[in-house]
């Protein structure tokens, strides 16, 4: 079935794998020289020091000198290093007599198969070393490595590295081989080789900045949060030292949300943190339906409560799903079908 979730990276073509190079090396070198020269000229024009002119300064200068109202960022005038603009491409893989350089050229995916051969060679080496150690009874005990901090390269990253298109099957085979290599007790020897194919994953919590509490005229601490769900937009202001009163768009919560489920959702963040009667809340919400508005206010209040609570509890809230934006929206209707999924009644004739 077709994917609903597609990252923008998946939609871009793998230019490196499409064919042999369209730009010669000499051309790229000339482009790099021109770029460096142009960078110094630009620095002189802007009155800055040519030696310490960074890429961000270049972007700002270009945006100032050539203002553009075009929507697509890729269509605006840009000045970047040639390696970013001209993507890496495979060099021509055969010499003047027509003979290919690499011995696996006729497999079609020479870099992928040579990589598999290399990795398997390392595996055999490790197994030989292990057998030697078992013969001498020096086998070290395998300590369980922390898998949570690192991830393997994604298929797209591997394709960019090899400059070749891969299928899902081939990618999974490569990852299985790497995992097998890592699982062996003496796999630490090939640590460097494995690190080429793994990436660090930072802890999720560090990505979000928690704002400090603000104080209003009466000296009561408060904080604001915004939330959205489907088409509803909500802003919530949570005050400290309260009695648990909630006001929505100037109306009391019992009158605005007659359904029990919506009120349960509003109280969910407070109930999760055991602070049901301690905070007052004033929110404004617009758009969406009954349940969407409740979900939007829930997200807004959870975000506002982050400032009142310790970091550990913020992590607990995140793991309970209170702080994630819900991306589910109404699916569009397609032509040739009656709805998003429902097809027209099938008639035999």
């Amino acid at each position: 079935l077709r994917l609903m979730y597609t990252a923008t990276a998946m939609q871009s073509k793998n230019v490196g794998a499409s064919g042999p190079e369209k730009y010669t090396e000499a051309f790229i070198k000339k482009q790099i020289e021109e770029y460096n020269l142009g960078k110094r000229h630009l620095a002189n024009m802007m009155g800055e020091d040519p030696e310490t002119f960074t890429q961000e300064d270049i972007d700002r200068a270009i945006a100032y000198l050539f203002p553009s109202g075009l929507f697509d960022k890729q269509a605006r005038p840009m000045m970047k290093h040639p390696t970013e603009i001209f993507p890496e491409q495979r060099k021509i893989q055969w010499g003047e007599d027509g003979r290919p350089f690499h011995f696996l050229f006729y497999t079609g995916k020479q870099s992928y198969y040579s990589l598999m051969h290399e990795t398997y060679e390392k595996l055999l080496n490790v197994q030989k070393y292990q057998d030697q150690l078992t013969a001498q009874d020096h086998l070290p005990q395998k300590e369980k490595r922390n898998l949570a901090g690192s991830r393997w390269l994604t298929k797209i990253e591997l394709e960019e590295m090899l400059l070749e298109k891969l299928s899902d099957d081939e990618y999974s085979r490569f990852i299985q081989l790497l995992q097998k290599l890592m699982m062996l007790p003496c796999g630490d020897i090939e640590e460097k080789y494995i690190q080429k194919f793994s990436k660090e994953v930072p802890v999720q919590l560090q990505k979000v900045v928690i704002e400090p509490l603000k104080y209003d005229e009466r000296g009561v601490a408060f904080s604001t949060g915004e939330g959205t769900r489907k088409t509803a937009r909500a802003t919530a202001v949570v005050y400290d030292n309260g009695t648990g009163k909630i006001t929505v768009n100037g109306i009391d919560v019992l009158h605005y949300f007659p359904v029990l489920q919506d009120r349960e959702q509003l109280l969910f963040p407070f109930q999760f943190l055991d602070r049901v009667g301690k905070h007052d809340m004033v929110c404004t919400v617009s758009g969406g339906g009954r349940s969407a508005q409740a979900g939007a206010i829930r997200l807004a209040s959870a975000k506002a409560l982050r400032s009142f609570v310790t970091e550990k509890e913020v992590e607990f809230m995140r793991q309970a799903g209170l702080l994630t934006f819900d991306p589910r929206v109404k699916e569009r209707k397609k032509p040739g079908q009656e709805g998003a999924r429902r097809k027209f009644t099938w008639k035999k004739r």
């Binding site: 079935l1 609903m4 979730y5 949570a148 489920q261 109280l267 999760f272 793991q319 994630t324 929206v329």
Partner: protein, 215 residues
């Protein structure tokens, strides 16, 4: 194997949220090895948003929400929820009536908590073994097959709801009929338990074809 998700708006790396408060209050030392690994993985990966039907309060129960969703017609969740609430109230009332009428020594055996009655009744209704139609050599045989937990729960709930919708008098309302059926199921009697026994007997009768199963 890398298989793309069947059309979820979330990235496949998102994990399910865990709403139960008690699990978060356990200190680090009490957790077993698997739970510690799970926690570490959770710390790194993004997590999906909690659905609107789920909440951390004592009143939200996943089984009851599932049953309410199955009772719902045309997306009318408000009506389904109110029917469920009325059913639980009716069960409580009937049990309290029985409690007050019973003599002293029997008072302890009467169960008044409607949630416990609901769960126990569902458990009693679940079939252990089911039939699946397998075509072999042109003929279709009914082969006895062990059922998964999800399938058992689904069958029990489906039988309850269809029973209440069809076999009732014109004037009787859904909550009353449902509470009656649940109490009967709790005591291992009633039409749904009979249906379960019939299914078991059919499976027993078709024992000869059990070797047709290949999974």
């Amino acid at each position: 194997r890398l298989s793309q998700v069947r059309g979820s708006r979330y990235n496949p790396s998102f994990l399910e949220p865990e709403v139960n408060k008690e699990l978060y209050q356990k200190p680090w030392e009490e957790l077993s090895e698997e739970e510690r690994e799970k926690l570490e993985v959770k710390a790194v990966r993004p997590i999906k948003a909690a659905p609107p039907t789920v909440s951390s309060s004592v009143f939200s129960d996943p089984m009851i929400s599932k049953f309410t969703n199955m009772m719902m017609k045309d997306g009318n969740k408000v009506l389904a929820r109110s029917l469920m609430a009325q059913t639980l109230e009716a069960i409580k009332r009937k049990q309290l009536e029985k409690y007050h009428k019973a003599p002293e020594d029997e008072k302890e055996t009467i169960e008044c908590n409607p949630y416990i009655i609901f769960h126990q009744a569902l458990k009693n209704c679940q079939p252990i073994i089911g039939l699946s139609s397998i075509t072999k050599g042109g003929k279709t045989y009914q082969v006895p097959v062990p059922l998964k937990d999800n399938r058992k729960r689904f069958l029990a709930m489906k039988w309850l709801i269809t029973e209440c919708r069809e076999n009732k008098n014109r004037r009787m309302l859904m909550p009353e009929k449902l509470s009656q059926e649940l109490l009967q199921a709790f005591n291992n009697e009633g039409p749904i338990i009979k249906k379960k026994h019939v299914l078991h007997k059919m499976a027993e009768a078709n024992r000869a074809y059990a070797h047709f199963r290949w999974w």
